[in-house]
Symmetry: C2
Subunit: 576 residues, 2 copies
Amino acid sequence: MRWTRTFIPTLKEDPSDAEIASHKLMVRAGLMRKLTSGVYTYLPLGLRAVKKVERIVREEMDRAGALETLMPILHPAELWKESGRWDVYGKELFRPVDRHDRPHALGPTHEEVITDLVRREIRSYRELPVTFYQIQTKFRDEIRPRFGVVRAREFTMKDAYSFHPDEQSLRETYMAMHAAYTAVFRRCGLHFTAVEADSGAIGGDYTHEFMVLAGAGESEVVSCGCGYSATLERAETAPVRPEAGPQSAAAMEKVSTPGMKTAEEVASFLGKPTSSLIKTLLYDAQGETVAALIPGDRELNEAKLRHMLRVDAVTMADPERILEVTGGPMGFSGPVGLEGVRLVADSRVEFMHNCVVGANEQDCHYVNANLGRDFEAAQFGDLVVAREGDPCVRCGKPVSIQRGIEVGQIFELGTKYSKSMKAHYLDQAGQERDFVMGCYGIGITRTVAAVIEQSHDNNGIVWPASVAPYHIEVLPLNVNDEPTMRLAEEVYESLTASGYETLLDDRDQRPGFKFKDADLIGLPFRVVIGEKALGEGKVEVRNRKTGETTKIPPDRLLEKMAALLPEEVREGRAHN
Amino acid sequence: MRWTRTFIPTLKEDPSDAEIASHKLMVRAGLMRKLTSGVYTYLPLGLRAVKKVERIVREEMDRAGALETLMPILHPAELWKESGRWDVYGKELFRPVDRHDRPHALGPTHEEVITDLVRREIRSYRELPVTFYQIQTKFRDEIRPRFGVVRAREFTMKDAYSFHPDEQSLRETYMAMHAAYTAVFRRCGLHFTAVEADSGAIGGDYTHEFMVLAGAGESEVVSCGCGYSATLERAETAPVRPEAGPQSAAAMEKVSTPGMKTAEEVASFLGKPTSSLIKTLLYDAQGETVAALIPGDRELNEAKLRHMLRVDAVTMADPERILEVTGGPMGFSGPVGLEGVRLVADSRVEFMHNCVVGANEQDCHYVNANLGRDFEAAQFGDLVVAREGDPCVRCGKPVSIQRGIEVGQIFELGTKYSKSMKAHYLDQAGQERDFVMGCYGIGITRTVAAVIEQSHDNNGIVWPASVAPYHIEVLPLNVNDEPTMRLAEEVYESLTASGYETLLDDRDQRPGFKFKDADLIGLPFRVVIGEKALGEGKVEVRNRKTGETTKIPPDRLLEKMAALLPEEVREGRAHN
């Protein structure tokens, strides 16, 4: 393609609403333009990169035996009411109403649609397992769209749904999808990690997120050198038994802590470490009030509290409820003498002695409160948010926390949808059974952004060959010099004919301007054709990533490119 | 692909809501399933056909120099208000509202989005002309979705938009698009005709529709052996001067026509031909009341009336208005003595003598009314709907009328959108000028239906190779016979390796059942492997279209297929 015949509107300035590198660069390099909040038009260069990712995803899904379909964007509300998601999905669901006042959803995912199809079309265990996928535009009415296509309202996603006779068959497909996802993200040139995750509102028991590690990511990933990794929400923590033996229990005493509000303030006022204080947090767990005890220097992980209590939602109790239950104001709750409330505690609390706790009374705390003597807890478990340096639950070494962009997620859904939507098959004995289901998503446009987030420098994008819009840019320094342009055209034609996707910058612009744009759009290799090198019978080949430049005779160029960019590199089966 | 590993849910019965062959067959052959009214899921076989059409469209668009983009489905209402279409598009536009109560449109076409992009990004005549296209899901809230994907609410369309400095440049691109569309539909194996059309609400001056002639089509096409063709709405008609000279004008007389309502009833009651009656139709033309006179045996073409009056809309006057203007009830209007109303007439009225006209009085008509003596008309022109046998406006021979499916349309939009949306470029003299625009659409999913509509028989689809989901079906008669299956696998592998998309029906079913399905899904060729022919060292090759069957040794199969299905046939550059 010739630059003058396509449309690559590069910009010198970052767009004012862009906070992260991929967003800035996708706009500056002319890959896309914003239409409205969280909604983008893909321009020719950007669409080529999107299609590269789509192709890799399609190849790996096909290889894994998944069947490509295309499901509608418009879903009738009835289906969503059947699954129960109509009421729980909230404001992120676009709900257009048609001319007959019938409500619809714009699909953010397609569990209902595929379950409806399968319950109508598949009757027998003999037709199982089966996995369907699609690459389709999805909609999510984000409260605050940001980071370009990373958190957009309209985006492209690959979603897949598998149907099984039993859990074992599901687990086999789950592992096959795990392997396919690993292949996809490797081929895209990403550094990523598959982490254990919490299943959230979509339901299901077992799930992994594929995280691309990037400082600009919105998710936090806990990981350890031993291979353990999990989302921050999901990451387990293990208490460390203090090396010193149990301290002798001192006498409990009520003390005044006037005006001290946070755990840090109270501890500091009393001249004790924050870690010797126990926070008592009151929650409403679907009707029941529960007090959760955690060390003063930790944060409560609500997902873990939900799991421990086996409820779908927990919300912090309001001040009125706290007063009613504890007799004291919010901020001074404590376990001593607390009755009529279930007390649960983080496992670390078992090893704490002579603690500071709230006294359920304005500006009062107890010191030297001790579990077993002064208060009890009904249940112990992991209730806190993991933090950097916590011992790994698998190997005990300190974990680290990094930021990541979630590019894919795989779920074992089980029978959540098949039960609610009455999707049955007949087993070998002729018995009706619920389909066991899995679902598997990849953010296609988000993956393009993640590639850029991980692979760029101050001058622009540094595309891996497998996702690059073109492989090679041919850059004649002076388009008005006839020998230069003749050679440029020859080189362009021969590279193109040899299967390299080539962009010829045939613009009549200064070399510096063209170099800047070449760095910005970041194709893996650049072939510079200038009068000086031509005088020596040479052209210059520059590697965008390493900056390495070599001069070679034009008739050696194909040989050189065959070494630098063999087919396995262009297809992402290997990387250079 | 093996049948048992994909998903082709064929049906014996036609779906109850299907009226036309393509709809029936797309469901029965397992290409798609309905999710809700006018909204379909494409199953693996259907999606493959859709992608074949997409690929052909993409190749021809790229060849014509159009640049592929992907524009959003969600459009902010503001843009549609700028163009003015927000108020005129009516109920066919889905208008979802986001969480902040901001109205949006689900794009049925993308003139606003592309014009907004271009006015921001393109400043100079040097960057013109430029053509952008996309293949995207479109939405239209049809009042009565029917005919499967032919009139759907969600469908796939290729839309392209071109921007020019002047009309001449637009006409060049328009002709290039005309040629590209011709190539696309030829490659899809369609019999079609490009007809002059009316531009309707989208605006613009010059437009052609690409019509696939099919009895089930919703559009009517007027055509003549001389090459003239046009949509029924657009088709011009020419009056035929009667061979006999003017008759002598008889004395006008008011007669009673009690209870006679239609033109036919009145004429018959008076013992005169319907063609001797003049219908007087009162219209509201954007505030002005107009009376249109046409022969009693013709229908008024409102598009022609609009054009004659140079207004955007005409609506029939209501009874109150008719009483007010004519002094008589609806159904008895006539031109004699009619004042304060503009009278326009079809050219045929000029040649009519001694006519029957309404008397603007209940149950009364005049006979022997004559133009020039008893009434006048301000303007004459072509106002009637063409009909079979009318003389062609070009050559005078009788035209014929056929039904067709509109699969594509090209428009010269001119400056309609660039004016309303203030989209300007700077010309060579540095003057701001409105972009001159064209737009070009192809219904991708509708094209698949049109192919089937034209190419099927009583047993199922008869795919042209270029759009077929697979090229060849390998059909082993008995999958439990080991030599049969060994050869079937060999044949399947060798055909696939040679570039033929091959489907192996490896189901353990009776031959008759498999033959029926093979006819139904209609792949161009079928290779039958049975014990009897195998005994003779032969396999059977059957052409789905001609039914021709030949027995050949398996080692001659590749050679045979190379002759029957060369690459140019598989890609639609030729047809067999």
